[in-house]
């Protein structure tokens, strides 16, 4: 393997996915190299170490030397998510206000699909007998109306000890307005509970709404001991091996934070990994001068869709993981069950479906020969000549054409009375329709016209569908990063440190409230600055974003605007009504406006990685082979040139149909699609226009 990266200091990004662990190294000049090794689900850290070993072997240097030369080491980890999904978290005790210990279990009645009433809620994270009441009451304005009963905390501690509670969560009513009771409870717990892990709702997420705040705090408490011990052990191991810098973790908000800062707030890690796509989007936007982008990252089981409008990827507060409802700043990602392993078949009444069920890493697609018998997207690509039989994914599996054919014949073609090729092509059409609908959904639901966006096709399986979906969408162009298969790990190379801080206001917008706003911002700025100082940033390397969550009086959801911190009430009203009008198509000029929350986003800027620009070369390129590949638009197999990615440089261009085989992905373009390699050495697919 020829290595393009040359000289340290290195920047390392490691993304541990369900199937592969991707490690990306950037060198001092901004060149990057991707290393892919199989993940080790039983011990994800082992996958990280294996990836390091592979990279060091390729660089022909010792791990100690390599790690010693690392300037930054960023990590996206699913350990928090898996702890929650697998139900392997801690035994948690919860302290709540007397009379209100059930909000965590009643869940406000929220269910994903009301029609599906037979499916129970996921197990409640804290059983009722470990949800203990504490007397004392704060009212909606933040005034104490009943004093705190600390003896209740003491008796709860006795219960917790007797029940082997490992982690304690505290969420008292209206603590967002006044957290003095929660603070007093926490202080007592630190003295008397003997429990190392305490999560307090006003620290974790000081927002209004006791169900979501309790749920978020409980999830934090539930995953904290395991996440902390796993990540601490990994950091210590890397330091023993020679790493001289702190481990930076990717958070759900798409920014990084050091492990020490996050260890007590692991709830911020539930989207660690997928959220790194934001870094990649930011970088691409700057590099290609386009700031309206939709990314479609397709892996083995699902497709993550993310939207950037005018250079901003939306951050939302609400995240649901396996129906556990969380409020934590998270990149707005819409996920659909459409990936390489997505299963297809006929339902009981003869209708064909594809997804959302997937074959996972095991057994995986039928062609893997690991016991899967149901046809998947990968099997269809094989039958259609889009993928070739034999070793796949770095040789970790081998694709067997006859198994793919058998699965498609048996489950679709024979019972439906259609040909094998029609069945395979149909399977792909249905999946691509799902992808198209997913992109339309994330744009239309949020008030954007999808046709105005450039589509980024990424993930190992994305570029196989990018051109086709882009064409149907009416997208201006489809962009395929050369290292599309390691999109998130690449994205980590472009992440900054980011910490979000929120303060609930709940006041009408008028002249008097301006002081409240500036005081609130001052408090949040202080918090943000402290946090960034702890990360080692000087003031000149920081940046602050100021946001307001606003709504018309009586409404219960907010519209977020980004504004100067010293905006006056008229500016605020204008900004709110502008955004409200964009999203909802009207304004209510007579209505009063309430300020729900203030936010400060603190950014610690890591040194930017320069883009390498490549001069266009004027040299013909020849395909490595021409083979018959099924074309949907032609409705038949066409002789299709296959290019090797390594042969294509900036300046190359050609017309489809064509296949480009890259190290981490395969790109498919249809007849008439125009492919060119830009100066960043990535691919752009454009479509001939009718006029």
């Amino acid at each position: 393997m020829s290595i393009t990266i040359q000289s340290p200091p290195w920047r390392v990004g490691v993304d541990v996915g369900g199937t592969f662990t991707d490690l990306v190294i950037a060198d001092s000049e901004g060149r990057t190299e991707v290393f892919k090794v199989p993940s080790v689900p039983a011990d994800p850290g082992e996958g990280v170490i294996n990836a390091l070993a592979t990279a060091c072997a390729a660089l022909d240097q010792s791990t100690k030397k390599f790690l010693g030369d690392c300037q930054f080491f960023l990590h996206g980890s699913t350990v928090a998510t898996n702890t929650l999904l697998e139900g392997k978290g801690a035994t948690v005790g919860l302290l709540t206000t007397t009379g209100f210990r059930d909000s965590l279990e009643a869940r406000r009645g929220l269910r994903k699909d009301p029609w599906d009433h037979r499916t129970p809620y996921p197990p409640v994270l804290v059983p009722r007998y470990l949800r203990q009441p504490v007397g004392g009451r704060i009212d909606a304005k933040g005034s104490e109306i009943e004093p705190l009963e600390l003896d209740d905390v003491r008796s709860a501690c006795r219960v917790f000890r007797a029940e082997g509670v490992e982690s304690i969560a505290v969420c008292l009513l209206n603590s967002f307005a006044n957290n003095s009771h929660e603070k007093a409870v926490a202080a007592l717990l630190h003295e008397e509970s003997g429990c190392e892990w305490v999560s307090v709702s006003s620290d974790i997420v000081p927002i209004m709404g006791e169900y979501e705040r309790t749920s978020t705090t409980a999830v934090n408490a539930y995953v904290m001991p395991r996440v902390a011990s796993y990540l601490t052990a990994l950091q210590e191991r890397l330091i023993r091996m020679g790493l001289k810098t702190k481990l930076l973790m990717l958070q759900s908000n798409g920014g990084a934070a050091s492990l020490d800062q996050l260890i007590r707030q692991p709830v911020n890690l539930l989207l660690s990994g997928p959220s790194a796509g934001v870094g990649a989007m930011n970088h691409l936007a700057a590099g290609i001068g386009e700031n309206n982008l939709v990314s479609m990252e397709i892996g083995g089981t699902s497709c993550d869709v993310m939207l950037m409008h005018e250079g901003r990827v939306a951050i939302t507060d609400s995240l649901s993981v396996n129906e556990y409802d969380l409020v934590t700043p998270s990149v707005d990602i819409h996920t659909v069950g459409a990936g390489g392993g997505t299963i297809s078949g006929l339902d009981g009444a003869g209708l064909m479906y594809a997804g959302p069920e997937g074959a996972g890493a095991r057994p995986g697609p039928a062609a893997y020969g690991q016991g899967g018998t149901r046809p998947t997207v990968t099997d269809a690509h094989l039958v259609l000549g889009r993928m070739r039989p034999g070793p796949y994914a770095g040789g970790s599996v081998s694709l067997d054409m006859s198994l793919a054919e058998k699965a498609i014949d048996k489950e679709i073609a024979d019972p439906a009375g259609i040909s094998r090729v029609d069945a395979a092509a149909g399977l792909i059409r249905i999946v691509e329709q799902n992808l198209l609908h997913a992109v339309e959904r994330i744009s239309i639901q949020r008030g954007y016209n999808p046709g105005r966006f450039m589509l980024i096709a990424c993930g190992g399986a994305g570029p196989m569908h990018g051109a086709s979906v882009g064409r149907k969408l009416g997208a201006r162009a489809v962009y395929v990063p050369r290292q599309a298969g390691a999109f998130c790990a690449i994205g980590m190379q472009h992440a900054n440190v980011r910490r979000d801080f929120v303060h609930v206001v709940m006041r009408e917008l008028n002249e008097e409230v301006i002081d409240v706003i500036s005081e609130g911002y001052k408090k949040l700025e202080g918090q943000a600055l402290d946090a960034l100082k702890n990360e080692g940033f000087e003031k000149q390397d920081t940046e602050f974003g100021y946001e307001l969550d606003l709504h018309y009086e009586g409404q219960q959801w907010d519209v977020r605007v980004v504004l100067d911190p010293d905006a006056n009430p008229d500016d605020i009203r204008d900004a709110f009504e502008g955004e409200y009008d964009r999203q909802f198509g009207h304004t209510n000029p007579d209505s009063r406006i309430n300020i729900a929350k203030l936010r400060v986003v603190g950014i610690g800027k890591l040194p930017a990685l320069e883009d390498l620009k490549f001069d266009a070369i004027d040299e013909a390129v020849t395909p490595i082979e021409t083979r018959p590949v099924y074309s949907e638009s032609a409705g038949e197999f066409l002789d299709t040139p296959v290019y090797r990615g390594a042969d294509l440089y900036s300046g190359h261009s050609f017309l489809g149909p064509a296949i480009v085989e890259e190290v981490t992905t395969t790109i498919l373009v249809g007849p008439g699609d125009h492919v060119s390699v830009d100066e960043l050495n990535n691919y752009i697919v454009t479509f001939e226009t009718e006029d």
Partner: protein, 586 residues
């Protein structure tokens, strides 16, 4: 072109693409509605449904929308075809609400329907049914508990041509705005409905153009046929037979007296007949069901019983025959008050259909969802600002099914729990109230292998004088029925505690004005599924540790003995006790 010809030799891929696309379009109409409507009820509670009908008025897609809106959209569309069939033109839009004249379900739900033309041919209609903020009538807010006829509930609309050749009829628009107390909301909401059906119309037209009219119609028919086959396959699995059941309310909105829905369900092969002959006569109050609403309630019961993932288009209903005698509470005569019917008697209809289906297939039986007890408090804040406070958090427990205990605190069965509860902290910000308690009840859940939902203890102080409108359907009698040996959930209770300490029972219906007062409510429990002695002892122990059941219920009903540490089951003693309890029962 004969659009009624049965579909055959359809490509399964194109069929799937067509169905998915239609469903996507009806979702898309919903997104547009949420984004553009004025009333918060649409973005917060999603109290609307978007659907697409074919050229004969059969609903081909209703992916978006709440259960009690599903299954009856075709009535309105067919009324349009009846009244305007020959003169439907591109650019026209129709509006309707009347249950008798125009195929509506109840007066507050207005339907906007827009015909779709491709190549001069009418290929279908895109429709949006949405709950209006106010429709005139005797009370603000579209619910008039004192109504004894339809005219006191609001304005009755036949099929109206609201938009003619792309232009809104100003005279009609003014008429509508004059007949609502909230024209600023209704103007915006109707425009949002128009916008969502226009987007839907454009998308359906594009689909039909892509496929060609003939092919598109074949595939629309194919989508309906597929739903028909899917439901028939499920019905055919049920044993042939006649299954009878009933469910009752204990009041007619003015007096305490039993009012009963009676169902005779006949399953023969892959057909099903739902016969309401014998159901009680319509009542004075506003719970009477229209035929459209009765269809929706049947559909909700069937779909939730059989398989919630079955298609929700009208093809799914072809194998169902409904006999609903006129003048009864399931098909009230013209002019009867009906506003409350989407909740009650929908609830009783769903229960009665569930009970009869459970006789055909006990394993899939659904225990009863308790009826809600909450009402509304209306008053003025100290600032003089008016408030309307729904006691919605005092929600009841749902019934259990095999494999799932009841939901402890959940919304109405007619939405299958789809309407959710706000946080206490949000209520306390918005209203002059302080909550004192909101916790699961003890020993109120219907016993069973899977127990019912517990219901809740709810206490809230209303801090100002207020007028309370009561809706105590779930009070004083058991409404969450048990099934397959499961027990009924406990009835609800409601008291008012005055500042002088005096407590009085709350009425089931009617209005009451009080000074500051504490509402003390125990919402009713849902029904249990299966015999309590078959409940997993670990789950029983957990319920006891959780305080959902008392020690005596654990022992005497469930036959479970805790080990001395109180953390595990004493298996030997539990087996002995269960054997003894079984014997004494036998």
């Amino acid at each position: 072109m004969d659009v009624k010809s049965p579909s055959k030799n359809l490509d399964p891929v194109l069929l799937a693409l067509t169905q998915n696309r239609l469903d996507h379009i009806s979702h898309q109409m919903g997104w547009v509605m949420v984004r553009t409507a004025r009333s918060p009820i649409f973005s917060q509670a999603h109290d609307f449904s978007c659907f697409i009908a074919g050229p004969t008025g059969e609903v081909v897609s209703q992916a978006d929308g709440i259960p009690i809106h599903t299954g009856s959209g075709g009535f309105g569309v067919r009324a349009i075809l009846r009244d305007f069939g020959d003169e439907l033109a591109d650019g026209d839009v129709y509006l309707l609400n009347d249950p008798w004249e125009a195929g509506g379900n109840h007066l507050p739900d207005w339907v906007i329907a827009r015909p779709i033309f491709v190549g001069g041919e009418m290929v279908g209609l895109t429709c949006n049914r949405a709950h209006q903020s106010d429709i005139g009538g005797g009370a603000a807010g579209a619910y008039n508990p004192a109504a004894t006829d339809a005219w006191s509930e609001g304005v009755r609309l036949p099929v109206l041509k609201l938009v003619e050749a792309g232009t809104i009829r100003k005279d009609l628009w003014k008429l509508l705005m004059l007949n609502t107390r909230t024209p600023h909301l209704q103007d915006g909401d109707l425009r949002a409905m128009l916008g969502s059906t226009r987007i839907g119309m454009e998308r359906v037209a594009a689909l039909v153009e892509e496929l060609g009219v003939k092919t598109a119609m074949d595939y629309f028919a194919g989508v309906l046929d597929h739903a028909d086959r899917s439901v028939r396959a499920e019905i055919a699995k049920l044993p042939d037979g006649i299954y009878e059941a009933e469910d009752r309310s204990d009041n007619d909105c003015f007096e305490i007296r039993d009012v009963t829905v009676r169902v005779k369900l006949t399953i023969k092969g892959d057909n099903i007949t739902v016969d309401f002959t014998g159901t009680d006569d319509q009542i004075l109050g506003f719970k009477n069901s229209s035929l459209g609403n009765t269809y929706s309630a049947i559909f909700t019961a069937l779909a939730s019983f059989l398989d919630p993932h079955l298609p929700h288009n009208e093809g799914a209903f072809r194998c169902v025959d409904v006999i609903a005698p006129e003048g009864t509470i399931v098909n009230a005569n013209e002019g009867a008050p009906t506003t409350m019917c989407t909740v009650f008697f929908a609830h009783e209809i769903i229960h009665a259909v569930w009970k009869s289906l459970a006789q055909a297939d006990p394993e899939r039986g659904c225990a009863g969802w308790a009826k809600n007890v909450f009402g509304i408090s209306v008053g003025k804040e100290k600032s003089g600002h008016p408030f309307v406070f729904y006691h919605g958090a005092a929600a009841a427990g749902s019934g259990a099914v095999e494999g799932r205990d009841g939901f402890n605190q959940i919304g109405h069965v007619c939405t299958l729990g789809g309407l959710t509860m706000p946080n206490v902290e949000v209520y306390e910000q918005l209203y002059p109230v302080i909550f004192r308690r909101q916790e699961f009840r003890i020993d109120a859940a219907g016993y069973g292998k899977y127990r019912g939902g517990s219901g809740c203890d709810y206490e809230v102080d209303i801090l100002t004088p207020a007028t309370h409108s009561f809706r105590g359907e779930g009070l004083d009698y058991e409404t969450g029925y048990g099934i397959n040996g499961g027990g009924n959930g406990a009835p609800g209770r409601m008291h008012l505690q005055h500042s002088n300490g005096q407590t009085e029972g709350a009425p089931k219906f009617g209005l009451r004005r009080t000074d500051a007062v504490r509402f003390i409510t125990q919402s009713p429990g849902g029904g249990g599924y299966g015999l309590p002695l078959e409940r997993d002892p670990g789950s029983v122990l957990r319920d006891w540790r959780d305080g959902i059941i008392s020690e005596s219920v654990m022992k005497n009903i469930y036959g479970v003995v805790a080990a001395s540490d109180g953390k595990s089951v004493n298996i030997a003693e539990t087996e002995d006790l269960r054997a003894k309890l079984r014997e004494s029962k036998a």
